[in-house]
Assembly symmetry: C2
Homo-oligomer: 371 residues x 2
């Protein structure tokens, strides 16, 4: 049974999944290259190798856990949290702990063995974003759960173990500290100025323009002012919306357009390096909020987190977001090929895109801290 | 000029080292293996390839920046922060920024091309810990600086770019958020109970025993109750001490003994995997504090941080600290060779050390989150 333990000083919770330490065969070294033709439990026809599906987009006549689907959601076979039981929150001297209750699901994005979300067509992508909503709505009904985090790991350096395109959902009994910090900061701004800080950010970014990556009718994408990582990019709905699960069908279709474009740009500029994305949304138990605004954070993993970042929480980013956005804007996603940097841009930056393409997952973030 | 930028929502500061992005030749892919006989600017005889030393342990007759030293501290050739100038803190709409003022130094731990601190003898190690103190005391006099973070990156996965044994010191104008959180949590405990939370932790760990890695007269090492990473280990002085720089000569010698033992254990169990260590100490401008207690956090980097951790701040640790401590205790550091797990231990854990030795830097932390 997984256990949640709290650091007594800073209150950070950790999930200790002890059961996993008892399975030495799980500790396999990660493949440094994509496996290609190895057996894939996510491919069509291999449905019996996953737990039973909890949601699917499938042909009307087809039967659960058999072919005929275009998207499946299944519980994770190796969950970080367990869905059965009560929290059993307790103390042990100065320490606090509870049982690791929660849900851990996998969204299998296609029956075909595609490696990236951007290999999906836009209808398939929209289905993924709708599936996120459906699963959040369902899990929200479980009174033990407080938060649903949707995330995606692409590439070994970003923590992916299977290459078949998939995302994950972990629902937890506690509101994660990162989310709590965001809520608090956003509330402070709202109380002081009466406006959503993310709406303010959108306005300022549109006015400045230099960090914009994509400007569509419903969504905006930009490299945030205080980007932690080179080419970090956020996607926000222009309409104020606190909970992702309030999204409707047309909005998922529109999101598919912007996400396909932005992810293609990131993958192209970084030559398909590893990245994560996470959906930041308001906690389940909060009503519709005026101060919070759901968004997607895309974090390319071309640099490693080193001792300075671990010890301080400061990040060192060697690529200013204005330059990152300039490169990302240039990528022609219709052709899905990088354009050559214009002469004026190359002159302005003193380099061209090829320089960034040297930044591979094995490139460390201490270019700045390197001794 | 590096710039510090604040995330407007959660207040996290990021160092944007723009100058580095203008130097494409810095963006070299990291070596996946140790370079062996490549040129090393940290070796004796190559003093002209580093900036001028700011501190050294050297023979009386020897001249600065020439051979004759056993330890050197030099400014980082590629600093994350710049030492000259004023902060120039300012706003830009909803954003806050300031110049990236601070110090970034490298502690070269030996004139020989050794790869690990544990290759040093104990006198050399004590010199390293004394050098930390000397540099902190010096930088503390600069009124623009608020905090000195000492850290070490060992191995590519931990962010190291040069293999020659070295540590780093970055002094910042702001107290880092991780430290501020620790100070706040420790103060809360002190206000409620009148005791240092770290002293309480030491007492409880000694009483329980199962997470202890090393118990010496002056220092204790244990795997913390809420370890983020497998085999995470902390070293704390048993004497209550808020600031590292209050350390005296005998205490650095004693620290050398425990650190050599503990780092050897970590390196042996994980077959010399990558790791970081960070010294957590009280901010420069704080007086001696009853509620804070300096300590060293050693974080092995055998797992990657994936989307769930990025998005939530929760960590998923597949190795309970009690099991990690049990393995670390077994390593006979006098022989510097792993002992075979005793039968009872192997039976208790259901596995032996060889199982953990399969956990390499390329092993991802999503064994627990793996789909």
């Amino acid at each position: 049974m997984p256990e949640m333990r709290k650091d007594p000083v800073i209150g950070r919770w950790v999930i200790v999944a002890k059961s996993r330490a008892n399975r030495p065969h799980d500790f396999e070294a990660a493949p440094s290259r994509r496996k290609g033709k190895a057996f894939c439990p996510f491919c069509v026809g291999n449905e019996s190798h996953t737990p039973e599906e909890v949601y699917a987009v499938r042909e009307h006549s087809s039967v659960a856990d058999t072919p005929g689907w275009s998207l499946r959601v299944v519980p994770n076979k190796f969950p970080a949290l367990q869905v059965e039981g009560q929290l059993d929150s307790r103390g042990d001297g100065i320490y606090d702990l509870m049982r690791g209750i929660g849900a851990h699901e996998v969204i299998i994005e296609s029956p075909r063995h595609v490696l990236n979300s951007t290999d999906l067509n836009r209808k398939e992508m929209a289905n993924v974003y709708w599936a996120y909503r459906e699963r959040l709505c369902d899990l929200k009904c479980d009174s033990r759960l407080s938060y649903g985090m949707i995330f995606k790991n692409v590439g070994v350096a970003a923590g992916a173990s299977l290459e078949h395109a998939h995302s994950q959902l972990i629902a937890t009994s506690l509101v994660p500290v990162v989310v709590a910090d965001e809520m608090e900061g956003a509330k402070r701004h709202f109380n002081a100025r009466g406006r959503c800080i993310y709406c303010d950010m959108i306005r300022q970014e549109l006015q400045i323009g230099s960090r914009i990556v994509y400007d569509g009718p419903d969504y905006i994408a930009f490299c945030p002012f205080a980007s932690r990582m080179p080419f970090e990019t956020w996607i926000l709905p222009k309409h104020h919306w606190s909970h992702y699960e309030e999204i409707d069908r047309p909005a998922t279709e529109s999101l598919a357009v912007v996400a396909h474009s932005v992810l293609s740009k990131v993958e192209t500029v970084l030559d398909r390096s590893a990245y994560n994305y996470m959906i930041h949304t308001a906690p389940f138990k909060q009503p519709t909020l005026g101060y919070y605004h759901w968004h997607i954070e895309i974090v390319p993993r071309i640099t490693n987190v080193a001792g300075f970042e671990w010890g301080t929480g400061f990040y060192i980013n060697p690529v200013p977001p204005e330059e990152a956005a300039s490169f990302l804007r240039e990528v022609d996603t219709e052709r899905l090929r990088p354009q050559t940097a214009t002469k004026s841009e190359a002159g302005k930056n003193g380099k061209n895109r090829a320089d960034y393409q040297n930044m591979r997952p094995c490139f460390r973030n201490d270019t700045a801290t390197r001794a």
